[in-house]
Amino acid sequence: MHASELVDIEVALFQEAIKRRYGYDFSGYAEASFKRRVIALRESFGFRTVSHLTERLIYDPLLIREIIGKLSVPVSEMFRDPIVFRHIREEVIPMLATWPSINIWIAGCAQGEEVYSLSIILRESGLYDRAHIFATDFSDDALARAEEGIYPQREAKKFSKNYLLSGGIGSLSDWVTTGYQRIRVDASLRRNVTFANHNLVSDGVFGEMQLIMCRNVLIYFSDDLQDRALGLFRDSLVHGGFLCLGSRENLEYSAVSAEFSALEGSRGIFRRGSRG
């Protein structure tokens, strides 16, 4: 048997252990990326084999939070794919403005970069006071960092460039303060944000949304899990509500594709139930 197939066995046992011991079910994750993440996790702990990692996982419950953090969606950027945020500013925001109150769900918010990006857009377009953002992730570690809103200073230049490319009407420095090698987002940007733990694998609908953002999360899911998540999004969205996926994700290979239409000229933005 090839060494890589031995690792496949170990990854399957790890997956079984984390499910039976802590209830996290990764069986619906795409295999190749999940395997890479487990190997990266093993390396980060300095274990020689995934089996050693599994042993620690089983016997040391204090590690689970860190392990889930490292297995979850990686860091993003503020205004990542600025063209998408430009579409949100120009096409989605004017439609959101027609609803008296606006609920937004950012599913898989990781460390919050997109939460604050969207908050800034809502502030700059005068919609923030009637908007509420639900920022969810299944990693408590990620949620804690998202709530802090602190990012390394080395990212500032990229974030600022992205902000301008996204159609920003001021300066990113209007919204962040810099110091101690870090940038910190303004506390007013989380006034209307609720951070909460939610797992797309096992949790359900919790509210009626006008906009759902879930970017570069479904790419890690197999078909069934993707369809489960998209079903949740469909059931959460009001008629005409918007779904924003990653710019390389589409609904072509999903069960709900007929219930959404792509927003013309955009990449990864869909509307529920509207045709043409």
Binding site: E31, A32, R37, P74, N216, L218, I219, R248, N250, E252
Partner: protein
């Protein structure tokens, strides 16, 4: 008719790679029956035209990979800028925004290792010009499963580091000038 030995071709290049990949793909026969998966390192801000540039001299349809797309023979799939491209069982394509590998995303190691897991000895890995070590571990994964390794002759590569590091770590079945790689692929696969 003999059963076909190979099931997919994976190609990677970095600096100088756009020209090199165009030359290799330009020599591929129009009846080429296998899928060809391509990683070219680019700036993350690169636009959507990479696939059409790489495929401009190629007789096979060349496209930017979409998540979950089924992998079909006779087509060229190019990793989108800023995403790793992987092969899943099916075979289908997967994308990821996980950390860079060898400082790059897309990374050849990520593609090659996943291709080796799915296709085993049926993979042909091709490493072209580049100033990076990406692809060496991936080619090692392919060759360790009895897949085939082809490396552009470092002496003629625009940047020798990538083919040289692949040669040192993984070794090769064939070390060839660019212009001979396409015709070898035709001979082995068509």
């Amino acid at each position: 008719m003999a059963e076909r030995r190979y099931r997919a071709v994976v190609i990677a290049a970095s600096t100088g790679g756009i020209r090199a990949i165009r030359i290799v793909l330009g020599a591929i026969d129009k009846n080429f029956p296998l899928p060809i998966l391509v990683v070219q390192h680019t700036s993350p801000d690169a636009n959507n035209t990479l696939a059409s540039v790489l495929g401009s001299d190629c007789r096979l349809p060349t496209m930017t990979a979409i998540a979950r797309q089924p992998v079909e023979g006779g087509r060229v799939y190019v990793a989108p800028p800023a995403y790793h491209m992987l092969v899943e069982r099916g075979p289908r394509l997967a994308l990821s925004v996980d950390d860079r590998v060898c400082y790059v995303r897309p990374s050849a190691d990520v593609l090659f290792e996943s291709a080796a897991d799915v296709w085993g000895q049926g993979v042909i890995g091709v490493i072209l010009t580049g100033a990076n070590e990406d692809g060496a571990r991936g080619l090692q994964a392919i060759r360790s499963r009895k897949g085939l390794g082809i490396i552009q002759d470092p002496a003629e590569a625009e940047m020798a580091a990538m083919p040289r590091s692949a040669l040192e770590l993984a070794g090769a079945d064939h070390v060839l000038p660019l212009v001979e790689i396409g015709s070898l692929l035709n001979q082995l696969c068509v």
